[in-house]
Amino acid sequence: MEDLPERPLRVLLAKLGMDTHTVGVTIIAHALREAGMEVIFTGLKQTPEMVAAAAVQEDVDVVGISTLSAGHTRSLPKLARLLREAGAGDKLLLAGGVIPEEDQAFLTEAGVHKIFTMGADTRDIVTYLRGWWAERQAAEAA
């Protein structure tokens, strides 16, 4: 009992900018909960500053951003920079939603680790996160 580490993956989910479509992010939140993860939902209309502050206070492992309106080419790189400046650059930064193909290389370069576009299967997201988490824990144990 005492020797077993209990480390559920902690994931912050937020929506940046003015769009108020919550269906996608809600489905993902439930899928991650079903997969045994702790999802911290911070709500709509978040700024990069708010997401970075919440990610630090909550000490999450993963920051997932849902974006369905334009503006992600500015807000996501800014969030990546704020996380690095807060000493939280080791957190996995994911983006999902409507993100045109031509923006993806730029965003990856700017510090977004992985992008899931519209129609991504929640099971693929869970598999990806579990794989990343297993690698991270193995690296920490080594």
Partner: protein, 318 residues
């Protein structure tokens, strides 16, 4: 002292956040850290906020943070939501109602899942409160999960507990169950602009009157307040009452006594948990548990045999 402990004591947010994570995850480094900060704790006013689901606890917490900030207090918030008993996962959504405080450097909000603990709190809640206390927050607000009649562990943890009720949950007695009325030092009827407020208020008044009659030695008279938290109404009166209760505790030995009771209970809890783990770890224990499962042995006899084995082994787990 480790760098992290020094950073926690210096109030650094990332350090405090990591310390709470370790304690929540039961990482051994958490217990080591607590050792170096514990002497610096015991200063913060720890306040519980509890009530049935739908009473508006998060919104009320948000309003209290705003009022406490107007009075220049530094505030830590621990917001607890239920973890799934099946998957262990959780959706922790209390921050949504507190978003306006996210960028305030004197407010620290942490969402915590119950992770299998009953009673309205998580196992790590007390530890998280100690970390926030060590970081220098004047006030630690603990918002429990929505509770029923007896899930009131927060009463043992907090110096002051606010019981939040609400009109319109059906039968008035259901608005706040009788068990909740026995606990708590401050009572609030939230959503007081709703139909049914007068009836709920009367019901609360009656229960508090009966409670006062049955406790002639009680020197604290629990106030009954109204609030409409989503319109920011009533926060001033609640914080006045919190300050009055703190003065009341400090006028005697109540503040230290409550803290001491809490810490003693935690020690007892840790011993119970670890002793049980040690006793149950052996191969013999597993065999006995299997025998109970197969109905070859009853639970009482199995427990006695296990404890006898453990004692004859000098208290060492086999």
């Amino acid at each position: 002292m480790s760098d992290l402990a020094a950073d926690v004591l210096a109030g650094k947010v990332a350090a405090g956040a990591r310390a709470i994570r370790w304690l929540d995850d039961r990482d051994r480094r958490g217990a080591e850290l607590l050792r170096s900060i514990y002497a610096q704790t015991g200063r913060a006013h720890i306040i519980g906020i509890t009530g049935p689901p739908g009473a508006g606890k998060s919104t009320l917490t948000d309003m209290l943070v705003a009022e406490l900030r107007r009075r220049d207090r530094r505030v830590g918030v621990i917001a607890i939501d239920p973890s799934s008993p099946f998957t262990g996962g959780a959706i922790l959504g209390d921050r949504v109602r507190m978003a306006r405080h996210t960028l305030d450097p004197h407010v620290f909000i942490r969402s915590i899942g119950t992770r299998g603990q009953a009673g309205g709190l998580s196992r790590s809640t007390h530890d998280a409160a100690l970390v926030l206390d060590a970081m220098g927050y004047d006030i630690v607000l603990i918002e429990t999960v929505g509770v029923g009649q007896d899930e009131i562990d927060v009463v043992n943890l907090a110096h002051t507990t606010i019981i939040v009720g609400v009109p319109g949950l059906g039968d008035e007695v259901q608005a706040v169950k009788a068990g909740l009325m026995e606990a708590g030092e401050i009572f609030v009827v939230n959503k007081a602009d709703r139909d049914g407020y007068d009836a709920t208020h009367r019901q609360f008044e009656l229960m508090l009157h009966l409670r006062a009659n049955s406790r002639p030695d009680d020197t604290w008279e629990a106030p009954l307040l109204r609030a409409v938290a989503n319109r920011d109404e009533g926060g001033g009166e609640i914080v006045d009452a919190l300050e009055a209760h703190l003065s009341h505790l400090k006028s005697g030995d109540g503040f230290a006594r409550r803290s001491g009771r809490r810490e003693r209970e935690q020690v007892a809890g840790l011993v119970r948990e670890r002793a049980a783990a040690a006793v149950l770890r052996s191969a013999e224990a597993r065999a006995l548990l299997d025998a109970v499962g197969a109905r070859q042995l009853d639970p009482y006899s199995a427990a006695e045999q296990l404890l006898a084995q453990w004692q004859s082994g000098g208290g060492q787990a086999a």
